[in-house]
Amino acid sequence: MSTLNSKIPAGPIAEKWTNHKAKIKVVSPANKRKLDVIVVGTGLAGASAAASLAELGYNVTAFCYQDSPRRAHSIAAQGGINAAKNYQNDNDSVYRLFYDTIKGGDYRAREANVHRLAEVSPNIIDQCVAQGVPFAREYGGTLSNRSFGGVLVSRTFYARGQTGQQLLLGAYSALNRQINAGTVKMHTRHEMLDLVVIDGKARGIIARDMVSGEVKRFGAHAVVLATGGYANVFFLSTNAMGCNASASWVAYKKGAYFANPCYVQIHPTCIPVHGSQQSKLTLMSESLRNDGRVWVPRKKEDAEKLRRGEIRPNDIADVDRDFYLERRYPSYGNLVPRDVASRAAKERCDAGFGVNKEGMAVFLDFKYAIERLGQETIAKRYGNLFQMYEKITDVNPYKEPMQIYPAIHYAMGGTWVDYNLMTTIPGLYSLGEANFSDHGANRLGASALMQGLADGYFVLPYTIGDYLGNEIMVPKINTNLPEFEAAEKAVTERLEKLFNIKGKTPADHFHKKLGAILWDYVGMSRNEAGLKKAIEEIKKLRKEFYADLLVPGELKNVNPELEKAGRVADFLEFGELLARDALNRKESCGGHFREESATEEGEAKRDDENFAYVAAWEFKGVDEEPALHKEDLVFETIQLTQRSYK
């Protein structure tokens, strides 16, 4: 029997959130002042939550591992944020955004959560405008929109190619206002290393001061994780170097179930890997697919000549170009969802049509858009992206097509949460990319920013009251309690253990090996034998890690290698869970492609009869098999159909 209670409110889909808000507890202003909340992570979800909770009157303590909250990786989101404003009069609506997100997620997200996301999306735009976010504008002064993959309307708001930056700076400014007011205590360069649970409730965290090396205790009535996704488990991804899964992982080990870890988004338009020295991959925004056309040569010999450097892309005539997305998916063309576009690129490259030296790249060509709109318009829309591309590759994309290839980008899976965004540990919440709830098996472009801000500005500030309303009699959490002492001791011992292995191999070497295993067997295409092999290889690698890890430096000083070692140790456990989840899910859906489950045309084939559920995993021990709990996905509003973008 499942122990999961998603707490989805009863009633018609469009009324669930309204009814729920009317029924949940509200904490009085006088009582809010007595309640402490910890927020870990200061990206869009964390910064917006910390600021909004502090505005309400709660005492907030916030943490980030960077030297400023403004540096969280939300900052790197380029293309935009979706909202059901219907400013373009193109028949957009809350329902259409809800429907697109459910369909885009390949019917593996929770209807009620997604509808709420669509409902609050217009408020996000209003909020950001009020904060002074400089969104793109039309000549008349109204807000401008563009299109993104997987939809037929223009609902994406943007600030050049730096939308994530501008939205995060908006949330950061709201956070700064509260820091200045003394309602948020901000700890930068601190990393959460454990969760403290007392009598079954989340009551605090243990964090390491990354400058002094000191391990510290922090207590609160509730703990909020807004710590982002786990894509860096693959080593090479578009995530920032410091992005990690450790906060979610320690929560998992303390009893928070982990949901759908096999749902990983592989973004179709990234700059291809250049060689063995690469440390991370750079995304080229999906918005580029509005005006760029994706192609490979129609003739294999042209592809071979390109690989040998004998011809340049512009030497190939239009008739000899295969615009394979337009060919295979005429109605969505270059704007098919990310998972579809990624698999299509892999299919062409595997078939021998790849265009760079390694044969692992396709073209994204702006020639046609420049002919149609002029270079100036293209520069205005994508100038900073074109500049970034040229700096990295030394190729001018105004003159020659970009080379792109899919790369690991985003985690749809995450900590399991109920409708209130609470995990299976009472008092522990998970927001933004760190939770699992809204994107199903594939996230649509420009929806991550929407979800992070929805959770932080408009969902948690309401739902947390329902829990904290019962905590008003609980005094300030005493960090001298034995649970805090034990957690701090465990953290210190673990750091010492990693530090004292004194082997021969730095943490990055293990991380790269883990990434290679996952990319080969748990990447864009997965099968049973490969997944079983991956699980065995990861276990083996974990053993090697604890026998041969080398951490230089000092425990009580700045020590990035010690930080990495801890994160890699967690990834070595998490990677196994990812592979196990992929093994369990025998169907294909969204970003999870099982070779055993494909249509004749090679498209992903879902199995709704057996897999229309959320797989939530319960920790049973590092070398034990986790327990699977299923939350059935009930579709009351949308009918399940095989996804088609043709």
Partner: protein, 253 residues
């Protein structure tokens, strides 16, 4: 995108174990660096080598490695973020360097940015300036529809030019007076161009400038080095706007 390999280069880098420790330059040899690699990937290779030799790797700030988080901060061969233009250290590529070259790497040098370790500095002074007034005072909720506030395209574009600041501190590191004027101007100017920012404009300009002065940043003498060093090409025209905002705020006191 030819993969030319630099067989041997030398990195002369500032080593300092802690804020109070005495610092010094150390020179290390690095082999087999692809010119297609980024500068920080070259530092990764060097650090890997140092670790395997039993030495302490170089501590440096970095995160997104795509030029937007503002974390990376190296002063390379006498230039903030190195010899290329309009890039952060993480976007600088090794094709800008040649075989056998000695590359000098220093931290940002400014009284308001003390060294934490090696080339990692403490930029919390920037946080304090933002906290002093770098915001529009609106709570979550209860705001008007986004299209109620009409903003001309030129104003929105100009606000965006200023808002592009990534808070890296290259302007301060480059300025002979260690002035933070470009950083402060970027925020004040963004809000000065937008109706949302007008209500608190005077208070904001005064509070942010006062905090900047209090934290030990120097004065601006209009040499323009900041603009050249800025990876986002933020124009010193924003400093002129800050001066106007500040003056008009002071005059109405």
């Amino acid at each position: 995108m030819a993969d030319i390999i630099l067989n041997k280069i030398y990195v002369k880098v500032w080593r300092q174990n802690s804020p109070k420790a005495k610092g010094r330059f150390e020179t290390y040899q690095v082999e087999n660096v692809s010119q297609g690699s980024s500068f920080l990937e070259m530092i990764d290779i060097l650090n890997d080598k140092l670790i395997l030799e039993g030495k302490d790797p170089i501590a440096f700030d970095h995160d997104c490695r795509e030029g937007i988080c503002g974390m990376c901060s190296m002063y390379i061969n006498g230039h903030a973020h190195g010899p290329d233009t309009e890039v952060t250290t993480c976007q600088l590529h090794m094709r800008k360097f040649h075989e056998g070259q000695t590359i000098v790497v220093e931290p940002w040098r400014a009284a308001a940015f003390p060294v934490i370790k090696d080339v990692m500095v403490d930029r919390s002074a920037f946080e304090k300036i933002q906290q002093a007034g770098g915001y529009v005072s609106v709570n979550t909720g209860g705001v008007p529809d986004g299209n109620v506030i009409l903003i001309g395209q030129d104003d929105a574009e100009e606000a965006m030019d200023a808002a592009a600041c990534i808070g890296c501190g290259a302007c301060v590191a480059t300025c002979k007076n260690s002035s933070a004027m470009l950083f402060v101007a970027a925020k004040v100017s963004q809000f000065a161009k937008l109706p949302q920012g007008k209500v608190e404009a005077k208070k904001r300009a005064k509070a942010m400038v006062a905090k900047m002065d209090e934290l030990g940043f120097g004065s601006c003498t209009n040499t323009g080095g900041c603009e050249l060093a800025c990876p986002k090409s933020i124009s010193i025209a924003h400093i002129a706007r800050l001066n106007r905002e500040y003056l008009s705020a002071k005059l109405s006191d």
